[in-house]
């Protein structure tokens, strides 16, 4: 018996394993596929709707494949008050896609997220796991040029 199976049988079919499974899938495949959600729902005895609901609730779980660079701009109040809307429009302009989309070449995905804990340097964004703060249109152009 391998370790994963042992761990699974130890934790059983409990509902609280749902998020752990989804995070694992996100980590392993870059997104949570419909097959993965269906399988998870069946193994935990939950409805597909419930699993889909949890997956779409969290900004860091994705139900579609993402690009090489995932840009996440904070849409919470502190960033909003520091003009995050302008920053969102600026990024959309630079890479030519709207939030929720991925560029045709698979380079960029553009997402909006809830607070990322960078309120002190609002407006802020993440590119993959790197935080960028005090954003201005000029800074954004420079940061995006650096994404290779």
């Amino acid at each position: 018996m391998n370790t994963i199976q042992t761990q699974d049988s130890l934790t059983g079919r409990e509902r609280e394993n749902l998020l752990r499974k989804l995070k694992q899938a996100q980590h392993d495949f870059g997104y949570v596929s419909k097959d993965m959600m269906t399988e998870t729902a069946q193994s935990l005895g939950l409805s597909i709707g419930e699993v889909y609901g949890i997956t779409t609730f969290y900004s860091f779980l994705s139900v579609r494949p993402l690009g090489k660079f995932v840009i996440r701009i904070c849409k919470s109040i502190p960033c909003y008050m520091q003009n995050a809307e302008m920053i969102i429009a600026c990024v959309a302009d630079e890479i030519g896609i709207k939030p929720g989309e991925t560029t045709g070449d698979g380079k960029f995905s553009f997402e909006l997220t809830n607070c990322i804990g960078a309120c002190d340097i609002a407006p802020a964004m993440l590119i993959n796991h790197q935080v960028y703060g005090q954003l201005t249109p000029g800074k954004i152009a420079e940061i995006l040029r650096g994404c290779e």
Binding site: S47, G49, Y52, G53, T56
Partner: protein
């Protein structure tokens, strides 16, 4: 089971342990308005319409899901309660893009009735972008108009607890939150058959019985 004695609006109520504040109030003839509550369903405390003031607690509590405790002093119509309740219903109405002012479902919209009872007056809160979804009318048993939905989650509970089907879930977040089926799929007859139980529990016109072709004039 122990007995509980508490004071509601100055009246003493004697009820069994485990009784909710809402149920206890009803035993002494005090009515608390509700929206997402139903005696048949497990309380979820989603809509916040039934909030009451319990002396000594920092926040208002949902009466439909809070068990009453010995010695509680509860106010169901204090200025704080009325202000919060009115604002809650106004906010629910702001997110409710149904046409219940003019259309035929008026009599079926509990939220509209509640708003009328509380005399909200002119709307204070306006949505910049109303939630809008296309009407789903192809299922012969349930017609869904999710633009009218106020996310009370009664349909989810009714489907899970009474119909034992668990067809509905809630997906997305914040303003985008929506009652969904599977992967936000259409409610086909493969998933949902003929029970229609959720329709009886929907407080708005979001879920309704489809008009039969033969009934269309």
């Amino acid at each position: 089971m122990g007995k509980i004695t508490a004071t509601i609006n100055g009246t003493e109520a004697h009820v069994d342990e485990g009784t909710t504040i809402l149920e206890a109030a009803r035993t002494v003839g005090i009515e608390i308005p509700t929206l997402c509550h139903s005696p048949d369903l497990i309380p979820t405390g989603n809509c916040r319409v039934c909030v009451v003031e319990v002396e000594g607690t920092r926040t208002l509590v949902g009466s439909c899901h809070t068990p009453i405790a010995n010695g509680m002093v509860i106010h169901t119509r204090s200025p704080r309660v009325l202000t919060a309740r009115k604002a809650t219903v106004e906010l629910l109405m702001a997110g409710h893009t149904g046409e219940c002012v003019t259309d035929e479902h008026t009599s079926e919209c509990d939220l509209r009735k509640l708003a009328d009872e509380l005399e909200g007056g002119a709307p204070r809160f306006l949505m910049r972008k109303p939630r809008w979804y296309p009407i789903e009318a192809f299922n012969p048993y349930v017609r869904r108009d999710m633009s009218q939905c106020v996310l009370c989650r009664k349909c989810i509970s009714a489907c899970r607890e009474i119909a034992k089907k668990n067809v509905y879930g809630i997906a997305y977040r914040g303003f985008a939150a929506k009652v969904i089926v599977d992967f936000d799929d259409p409610l086909t007859t493969e998933i949902c058959r003929d029970c229609g139980i959720c329709i009886d529990y929907c407080p708005t016109g979001a879920l309704s019985k489809p008009t039969k072709k033969s009934e269309v004039k």
